[in-house]
């Protein structure tokens, strides 16, 4: 840990992208789970996620980045799923 006289005045962060080192996943109380067979690949979850924690490869939803997902549940709320069956459900952590 830095001592007070080693800090940058004004608490200015002098590098870009440093938030990557701050893993917010530990804040989670509920965890999103992906049910692949109900997914229509609309990517609503990817668009709505405030933490860029929905992983997408080659234009397809592939799951979650649990290092940063805070478990807000927005993706599960917005997910239309298939024929009324959600492709994302929230499950209590530690269950």
């Amino acid at each position: 840990m830095k001592k007070w006289h080693e800090l940058v005045p004004g608490a200015v962060i002098l590098e870009g992208g440093s938030a990557v080192r701050f893993k917010t996943g530990s804040w989670r109380a509920f965890k999103p789970l992906w049910i692949k067979e109900n997914c229509i690949q609309c990517l609503f979850c990817w668009m709505y996620c405030p933490d860029m924690s929905v992983t997408v490869q080659d234009g397809k939803m592939t799951g979650f980045d649990y290092d940063y997902c805070k478990g807000c549940g927005i993706c599960a709320l917005e997910c239309p799923g298939k024929k009324g069956n959600k492709a994302i459900i929230m499950e209590e952590e530690g269950k």
Partner: protein
């Protein structure tokens, strides 16, 4: 070469701001500072400055815009009074916590309720713990001189701190006085070019301002902030020395007036100090060893220097144009803290005066001095805190 003019305090300070040619000004009108920013806006319209003037919808927004512009890398100003300063509150802490050298004249005015637009120090005294440097001015000349020096102080590379320049509402802001303007070029050279530090608009080197700092580091950042504040006194004195070479006018951390051999003294700020100096002179003629100390730098507070100047007096009255209800006046609290560490110290009383623009008259100063003479003779302190000129 200096130009002698007859102007109001607002006009004088607006001219100092024009001479500093800031990059950005974001302001919202409030009495009695309105006319200062109105004059500055006309400088912008007439092309006399290169400033981007942002008209905002409140003082909270004006300080927010100033913070953004300052972090972006510009020289930034605004001005306000009273409720306006109060509305800026949370942003004042952000300006200082981010180390942004925003320059802000505060035309001191009472706070509501009851509503009152006249001069007292309640606004800026309430803002003393926001991490801003505070300079206080006795007259239009000092307000102008303080504004020019504020740019050099706040923008100093060892500080980068925001500065409030205080002047009494109406008494100074709206009264016409004789004063001297420095030439534009002389001010430009004195202040120097704005040096950009950690600019947000430096897109090749991205930065963040205002990060989340949790219990593991917050107190370290606050300790650092205190350290930077503790460098201010030295910078204020260096800048004052340079300013004296330029203008012939001498400034310090505070002004001592006939204090060296004084037995009784007033500590009094801003315009009322002028009135009290006259009374000191007339009491001296009568053989009373009266003196006066006028604070100029209130944040950071020069505890040691002030204690050294006051410790040999017998009795001192600290005059406050602001109140702390259920407490002593803000200047009194500082002066008594300063003196507590001295082995020798005067008896100390506190007078609250001039709230909401009530006149401070020579008779008030004289009355207070005579009370001090009585205390100095061993008459004892009757009440520590009293109100001057209150009908009762």
């Amino acid at each position: 070469m200096q130009k002698v003019v007859a102007v109001t305090g607002n006009e004088a300070v607006a001219n100092a701001l024009r001479q500093a040619n800031p990059d950005v000004c974001a302001a919202y009108p409030i009495t009695p500072a309105t006319d200062m920013m109105q004059r500055f806006a006309s400088f912008v319209s007439n092309g006399e400055v290169d400033t981007e003037l942002i008209l905002v919808e409140s003082e909270h927004s004006s300080m927010s815009a100033c913070i953004g512009a300052s972090a972006a890398g510009g020289r930034v100003i605004t001005a306000t009074s009273s409720q306006g300063l109060a509305l800026m509150w949370e942003m004042l802490h952000i300006a200082s916590g981010d180390n942004l050298p925003i320059i802000m004249p505060v035309v001191n005015r009472a706070l509501s309720a009851p509503l009152n637009i006249h001069g007292d120090h309640s606004d800026a005294m309430g803002a003393r713990d926001t991490g801003w440097i505070q300079l206080w001015s006795e007259d239009a000349q000092e307000a102008y001189d303080n504004t020019i020096q504020a740019f050099r102080i706040g923008e100093h590379l060892a500080l980068r701190l925001p500065v409030m320049i205080n002047l009494d509402g109406f008494i100074i802001s709206h009264s016409i006085e004789r004063m001297e303007y420095l030439e534009d070029k002389a001010v430009e050279d004195f202040i120097g070019e704005f040096k950009v530090v950690n600019a947000l608009l430096d897109l090749d080197k991205p930065k963040s301002y205002g990060p989340l700092i949790l219990p593991d580091l917050y107190i370290e950042y606050k300790r650092l902030q205190h350290e930077i504040m503790s460098r201010v006194k030295g910078v204020v004195l260096d800048v004052a020395e340079d300013f004296e070479k330029l203008s012939g006018r001498k400034y310090g951390l505070f002004e001592s007036y006939r204090l060296e051999d004084a037995e009784v003294g007033l500590v009094i700020m801003s315009s009322a100090a002028g009135t009290a100096k006259d009374v000191v002179d007339s009491l001296r003629v009568k053989g009373i060893k009266a003196g006066l100390l006028k604070p100029r730098l209130f944040r950071p507070f020069p505890y040691g220097e002030m204690a050294a100047s006051l410790q040999n007096l017998k009795a001192v009255a600290v005059m406050d144009r602001a109140d702390s209800f259920g407490g002593y006046g803000p200047v009194f609290m500082e002066v008594s803290s300063a003196l507590y560490g001295s082995s020798k110290r005067p008896a100390l009383i506190n007078k609250i005066y001039g709230l909401g623009g009530r006149d401070f008259l020579p008779a008030h100063a004289e009355e207070t001095f005579l009370e001090l003479v009585d205390i100095a003779k061993g008459g004892g302190i009757k009440t520590i805190k009293e109100y001057i000129g209150v009908r009762q």
